[in-house]
């Protein structure tokens, strides 16, 4: 059977999301990471809009706009300014080698899909596979946070994870109730601000954003 256009669109968006997640995992340059993050936000908001259109839920349009505002414009801009101020825009960080990361990523995707399978069975919504995708991208962002050695990329990974969650929320459940959406958005914003403050604190204390400075607190073995 062929799905209606909107559904195909949603699935497409899901694939894009996952793709971007992979791209972020393998991306070395911070600046590009920020762009990718913005792109992901864009995909997210478009997807939200599509869902809104498909299911005629006006409040989802609002949510899409919110996403656009915060995740595509505000946060990337903020991060951009930040890396300028900390002039680390051309920072390149060495990752543990990409192929292994990729391989792990693939495994995660498989796990995620298998987990999502029963749920998608149940989900009578238009969403079938997108939940699995969302979960996969969440796990991927997690993986990214694990592999990064610098503060900023780790934060981006964290925000990307939130994107994945949002995607799951919208596509699997047509979005959470409004008040919750607002609350979550607020938290993300404040969180981003506090991250910013931290960057400066870390910077001025260790004059570097390298996390391996933050490994003093440990048990003496």
């Amino acid at each position: 059977m062929t799905l209606p256009l909107t559904h195909q669109l949603i699935n497409l968006m899901a694939c894009l999301l996952l793709l971007i997640a992979f791209a972020m995992v393998s991306q070395r340059r911070i600046l590009r990471l920020i762009y990718l993050f913005a792109l992901q936000g864009l995909v997210l908001s478009v997807n939200t809009a599509v869902v809104a259109f498909a299911t005629h839920q006006p409040h989802l349009y609002f949510s899409a706009a919110l996403t656009l505002g915060i995740k595509v414009l505000a946060l990337p801009w903020l991060l951009h300014r930040l890396i300028d101020r900390l002039n680390i825009r051309w920072d390149v960080e060495t990752l543990i080698n990409i192929p292994t990361t990729m391989l792990v990523g693939i495994l995660l995707v498989i796990v995620a899909f298998n987990l999502a399978l029963p749920i998608s069975q149940l989900a009578g919504t238009i969403t079938r596979s997108s939940l699995g995708m969302a979960m996969a991208s969440v796990l991927l962002s997690f993986l990214m946070m694990i592999t990064r050695r610098k503060a900023v990329p780790q934060v981006i990974g964290f925000l990307a994870m939130e994107n994945g969650l949002f995607f799951a929320a919208t596509s699997a459940t047509y979005g959470m109730p409004m008040v919750v959406e607002l609350g979550i958005a607020l938290d993300v914003l404040v969180g981003a601000f506090i991250f910013g403050i931290f960057f400066f604190q870390i910077r001025e204390t260790f004059d570097s954003l390298d996390i391996h400075h933050l490994e003093k607190l440990k048990e003496k073995t």
């Binding site: 987990l115 029963p118 749920i119 149940l122 989900a123 009578g124 939940l131 979960m135 969440v138 997690f142 946070m145 503060a151 780790q154 964290f158 994870m161 939130e162 969650l165 799951a168 929320a169 699997a172 459940t173 047509y174 959470m176 109730p177 008040v179 919750v180 609350g183 979550i184 607020l186 938290d187 404040v190 969180g191 506090i194 991250f195 403050i197 931290f198 604190q201 870390i202 204390t205 260790f206 996390i211 400075h213 933050l214 490994e215 003093k216 607190l217 048990e219 003496k220």
Partner: protein, 483 residues
């Protein structure tokens, strides 16, 4: 219900006021008085619930029943006493030049903000709002952990932020899945996230989804509870933050996080009809208690020591709730109360001890009862209480938990025994060394605020010897709710 408005509104307004004027000398008094008012409001709320039973308010946005109202009262109370303690403590810190007025303002406003998020998380009827509040709790405290701007402080705060943030993200995913399952039954819209509704239909929710959801929720909120192996932020944050914050983190935040876990456990058990959630919680609880006990013996920093002891006790409580049944749940609630009262009292005493000796290193704190008997005895009695020695309340709950476990989960008792034994030896050997012997402490500019310590200990003593009937009713009702 005006009480709820007050309970939530007072800290919020207090936070705003202090954000503007928090650097003034009288800010500490303002902070304390706001907390006092909050406490009064919370008591009024409690009185109402005790008299009228569970209630919803604000278009079902808030729901207060026996379970969370007692946590509300506890939170407000510990918040108040901690504010009293912080009044003196932070003043000394400031005079020793460890803090500027600006940081003090941050501290005061964030303190009230933190109280607000705690109370919101407790009183809300909406799983989503609960999540929001939990996240906000992290955000409000993270800057306080790094208040001293020391390298260690920043590191601790960073770890706290990242780990809890990630954890809480898992919890969000769990919440989404919960919603996904719920809307099948309740239809889309706000209703599908409300306890009151979910409770009603919990046995119709799709078990598959809920089991996965519970895993995410457990890992998410469990991170904030400090369950091993998700606990790694906890000792750092407790050790590096200012002592009042350590007190409220240990005494309140962990409780609230556990509250979230238990709420969800109720739903999931209802849906699955199996004991999956309970078993998971028992496993985590045992693991936490055991690992924390073995950590204890290696600690050299007094606040880290008691942070690990918090992990141990959270493990025991989680185990109790996982075991379920009227007695065990009752014991779990009792242990929650006793633990947060005792542990905060201990942190008060430890704070003063650290200020007197100018260090947190156990090896350099000696003979407290020589210089200031009150601090020494406070620390000694507090430790005795937290180590589960009667007639303090912690023992009462441990008594119930152990005896019940011996009947229902005999396999677990050796592990619990090992955890308690090792923990006892580790903590008491260090505390004895700090309290007894010849002294290294000196005098302080301000007399220590020891009233909170002994008030807490007195209450814990009361819990061990005589639990007032209405309190008992309240515990029973809550235990019945938890099942």
């Amino acid at each position: 219900m005006t009480e709820i408005v007050l309970v939530l509104g007072l800290p919020l307004t207090g936070a705003l006021l202090l954000a503007l004027r928090g650097h003034r000398p009288w800010a500490a008094e303002l902070n304390a008085s706001v907390s006092l008012l909050t406490l009064l409001a919370a008591l009024a709320l409690t009185a109402r619930i005790v008299s009228l039973g569970p209630q919803t308010a604000g278009r079902e946005l808030f729901f207060v029943d026996a379970f969370n109202v007692f946590l509300v009262a506890l939170t407000a109370f510990v918040g108040f006493t901690t504010a009293l303690f912080g009044r003196v403590y932070m003043r000394v810190e400031q005079e020793r030049g460890k803090l500027t007025a600006g940081r003090l303002r941050l501290y005061h406003s964030m303190y009230q903000m933190f109280m607000f998020t705690m109370l919101l998380a407790l009183t809300t009827n909406n799983v989503g709002i609960l999540w929001v509040a939990m996240e906000a709790a992290t955000l409000t405290t993270v800057l306080l952990v790094s208040l001293y701007r020391t390298a260690a402080g920043i590191e601790a705060a960073w770890k706290y932020f990242i780990l809890c943030g990630v954890g809480i993200a898992q919890a969000l995913f769990g919440t989404i899945l919960l919603y996904l399952a719920a809307e099948k039954v309740l239809g889309a819209g706000g209703g599908a996230l409300l306890w009151t509704h979910l409770q009603a239909v919990r046995d119709q929710l799709e078990p598959n989804v809920l089991s996965i959801a519970f895993v995410f929720l457990l890992v998410g909120y469990g991170t904030k509870v400090g369950l091993v192996p998700l606990h790694n932020w906890l000792p750092d944050a407790h050790a590096e933050g200012p002592t009042p914050i350590s007190a409220v983190l240990s005494g309140l935040l962990l409780n609230v996080a556990l509250y979230a876990v238990v709420r969800n456990k109720v739903l999931v058990d209802g849906a699955l009809g199996s004991h999956l959630a309970g078993n998971l919680m028992m496993g985590f609880g045992l693991l936490s208690a055991l690992v924390a006990a073995f950590f204890l013996s290696r600690q050299t920093d007094v606040k880290r020591l008691f942070a690990y002891s918090s992990i141990e006790h959270m493990g025991i409580i989680t185990f109790a709730f996982g075991m379920g049944g009227p007695v065990a749940s009752f014991a779990g609630l009792l242990h929650m109360t006793a633990h947060s009262l005792t542990k905060s009292a201990i942190f008060f005493a430890v704070g003063h001890a650290a200020q007197k000796t100018g260090t947190q290193v156990i090896a350099q704190i000696r003979g407290l009862i020589q210089v200031s008997p009150a601090v020494g005895w406070g620390l000694m009695l507090g430790s005795i209480a937290i180590l589960g020695i009667p007639p303090f309340g912690v023992f009462a709950s441990e008594f119930l938990i152990l005896t019940t476990a011996m009947r229902e989960q005999p396999w677990a008792t050796p592990l619990l025994l090992a955890a308690l034994g090792v923990g006892f030896a580790a903590i008491f050997s260090k505390v004895q060394a700090m309290v007894f012997g010849d002294s290294t402490a000196q005098r302080l500019p301000h007399p220590p605020a020891l009233l909170p310590v002994f008030v807490h200990l007195l209450l814990v003593l009361l819990l061990g010897l005589y639990i007032p009937p209405y309190l008992a009713q309240w515990y029973r009702a809550a235990a019945r709710m938890i099942g």
